[in-house]
């Protein structure tokens, strides 16, 4: 009797979490899937309309534009955060005396919500009151920085603020990775006469592969879910220049009372997210089994 209990106990312990997730995540995803094929407007309603909402969705310039913006934003954000995070981690890993002081400074933006940091950024980027004006007051009259007001460049200011928020976290991940490298490997390479840059490029950075992967997953999902940031910084403007799928979905579901179209955009977002995560997960679990 005791034997059977012991053998079932692990599953029993896991069961509540698993059932909660099954219902509150996957159940709700199915529900959203149904809404995306319904005639819901202000509140859910269950008249079936097939793929109508999807057809309407893809005809909206607003939606295709937001996908293009996400492509630009996501690529830059992930690339810059990874490179910057790695560089800062390498720099910080050189026996820096003030590391204890610098690390929390790099990390703290992750702790703040964008409800108000967004305002600070918005001011800072605004040519009328922010950096540009300050430079003018300091005598650099020709200084020009008005990206946030430009339809073509505003998306880059969103990248700047987003990088500000999460690159420190990526730095911490890389730092942890670097600290896990066996110093003997480096010492051996040094004895062989390899230069410092070469050691990093050929030996250490390749060892960071798993960190790159985790960073990618964390950043990719942050990019696709980015909402607060855009709302606080640009409100999707100028025009629709910084509209992203997440702001699109909220707007259609909750402010435009077109819940069906909102749900269909949510389903497309989920498909995008899962198509990034599932292969990663598959590879991860496979190597697990191999080892």
């Amino acid at each position: 009797m005791k034997e059977t209990l012991q053998s079932w106990l692990p599953r029993l312990v896991l069961a509540p979490s698993f059932l909660l997730i099954l219902f509150f995540v996957y159940g709700f995803i199915l529900y959203t899937g149904y809404l995306s094929m319904s005639d819901s407007r202000m509140l859910p309603s269950y008249g079936f309309v097939g793929l109508d909402n999807y057809e309407k969705l893809w005809k909206l310039r607003h939606w295709t534009g937001s996908l293009k913006n996400l492509a630009v934003f996501g690529t830059l954000y992930i690339a810059i955060c990874s490179v910057l995070g790695l560089l800062l981690a390498i720099f910080l890993d050189q026996k820096i005396r003030i590391e204890g002081m610098l690390r929390p400074i790099y990390l703290y933006p992750m702790a703040l919500s964008f409800i108000v940091t967004g305002t600070a950024w918005k001011w800072f980027l605004d040519p009328g009151i922010g950096l540009e004006q300050t430079m003018h007051q300091w005598g650099w009259e020709s200084f020009h920085f008005d990206w946030i007001k430009s339809r073509t460049h505003a998306i880059y200011t969103v990248v700047m603020a987003a990088v500000w928020q999460s690159s420190g976290f990526v730095m911490a991940m890389f730092l942890a990775g670097l600290r896990g490298v066996d110093p003997d490997i480096i010492r051996a390479a040094e004895i062989d006469g390899a230069s410092r840059a070469r050691i990093y490029w050929r030996i250490i950075i390749p060892m960071m592969r798993p960190v790159f992967l985790s960073a990618f997953v964390v950043l990719a999902h942050l990019a696709i879910k980015s909402y607060d940031l855009v709302v606080a910084l640009t409100g999707g403007g100028p025009g629709k220049a910084t509209e992203l799928p997440a702001t699109f979905m909220y707007s259609y579901t909750f402010t435009r009372n077109l819940m069906g179209i909102g749900a269909s955009s949510a389903i497309i977002m989920l498909i995008m997210i899962f198509s990034i995560i599932v292969p990663y997960l598959y590879a991860e679990l496979k190597t697990d089994r191999a080892s």
């Binding site: 059932l19 605004d126 339809r151 403007g237 100028p238 909750f254 009372n257």
Partner: protein
């Protein structure tokens, strides 16, 4: 619902009893988005009034996006079966919720206080549903105002413009004087507020046909192209850094004399007064040139969510208190808007307020009081936002005037 049982079981298994708190029968829980100093203080007058009648006030403010955040909250609350007792609401949201059949009936208080005669007809279009009163309007904001810096105006000739051409020449003169002629914030609702006024300046009939009847011919026609041309002209008088700017920062530009004028609803007045300016002396308020005698409005109203069998006493008391002329006056003096009933004394209002009240009464009797598209009183949310999309894209140079008119007609048609 097998699954919900599972979930309930799990919750109990985790040792979390349900501790639902419900408002007492003689309390009102009020969902609203009036959180800034002045307006919240004004609402406090209502709270005090109700408390003196033994009705407790549970405050549930959710600010953001001109009520958008509060409306999201409301949907979650109603879905959860935990609707607040009273909710601040605008225009077509009221109609949409009334169609869901969840709003309480206020006929009893309305009849006692004779709302039918004192509330402007256009407001009744929202406050009544299928002949029954469902909401108590707190105020009427009118949106077709222009706020002009007095000394900038004096330097530009001194005469407040009354026609489009005069407006253009004043703007030109201001430009020549080296200031930004038009202070504007590039956010969709602000763009649309100016758009409303420009449409209205093409005539009452045109506004009615295009913005309220949503007639495709009017939406794509010559006059609409002219409207967009005028929007493009106005864009030429706005400074480089306009996009994303909050409306109050635009007001500050006018207050400080960095800019000549701002086209904005009557809430902008509060910014001027707070900065110590006096209407007529430091700043001038006029109707958007070409819209004299007409008013586009939005009106904050409170609806009561049905609590099972009919409304409870507290809700009816609150509705009555909102329509009390003393409260209407006290609240609107602070808020910058005008009372939602036409029989309130204008003694406590400043010059702009008095003018606002007179304009409202005149427009009401002349039939030239229209719901504002920009503020959700001309068409439902989906259409309003479709208008925002086009107006904002055009204002930012993404669409030409003819394209914009066509896009406007098409996107509205697609939603109907």
């Amino acid at each position: 619902m097998k699954t919900s049982h599972t979930a309930a079981g799990l919750v109990l298994a985790l040792g979390m009893g349900a501790v639902a708190t419900t408002a007492l029968a003689d309390d009102v829980e009020v969902l609203h988005w009036w959180t800034s100093g002045g307006e919240a203080a004004a609402l406090d007058v209502l709270k005090q009034d109700l408390e003196s009648q033994g009705v407790g006030w549970q405050d549930m403010p959710v600010a953001g996006g001109g009520g958008e955040a509060a409306m999201t909250t409301l949907r979650a609350r109603v879905t959860a079966g935990n609707a607040p007792t009273a909710v601040q609401m605008l225009g077509f949201d009221i109609t949409d919720w009334a169609n869901e059949g969840v709003l309480g009936n206020l006929d009893e208080v309305a009849a006692a206080d004779n709302w039918d005669d004192v509330v402007p007809t256009a407001l009744q279009g929202f406050a009544k549903h299928e002949g029954h009163w469902i909401s108590a309007p707190v105020n009427v904001h009118s949106t077709n105002w222009v706020w002009i810096n007095k000394s900038a105006l004096d330097a530009a000739g001194g005469n407040a413009p009354t026609t489009w051409d005069e407006l253009v020449s004043v703007l030109d003169a201001m430009k020549a004087n080296g200031i930004t002629p038009l202070a504007h914030g590039g956010q969709p609702w602000q763009d649309a507020t100016v758009f409303d006024a420009v449409v209205l300046s093409m005539g009452n009939d045109f506004y009615q046909k295009s913005m309220i009847d949503l007639d495709p011919d009017a939406l794509a026609g010559e006059q609409m192209i002219e409207v967009f041309n005028r929007m493009a002209m106005l864009r030429g008088y706005v400074d480089e850094n306009f996009s994303g700017r909050d409306w109050n920062l635009a007001s500050a530009m006018v207050i400080e004399g960095k800019a000549g004028m701002q086209m904005m609803g009557d809430w902008a007045k509060g910014e001027f007064l707070k900065a110590g300016q006096k209407p007529g002396e430091d700043f001038v308020c006029i109707r958007f040139p070409g819209t004299q005698g007409s008013v586009t409005f939005n009106s904050d109203q409170f609806v009561m969510f049905g609590q099972g069998e009919g409304n409870n006493e507290a809700q009816l008391k609150m509705a009555a208190a909102i329509m009390n002329p003393v409260f209407q006056s006290a609240f609107n003096v602070v808020k910058g808007s005008v009372p939602a009933r036409t029989d309130v004394s204008d003694a406590d209002f400043d010059d702009c307020g008095k003018k606002g009240m007179k304009d409202l009464a005149a427009a009401n009797s002349a039939g030239s009081l229209f719901g504002s598209m920009a503020h959700g009183h001309a068409a439902p949310a989906a259409i309003k936002n479709a208008v925002y999309d086009v107006v904002t894209q055009h204002f930012n140079g993404e669409l030409g005037s003819e394209e914009a008119a066509e896009e406007l007609a098409n996107s509205i048609e697609a939603l109907r």
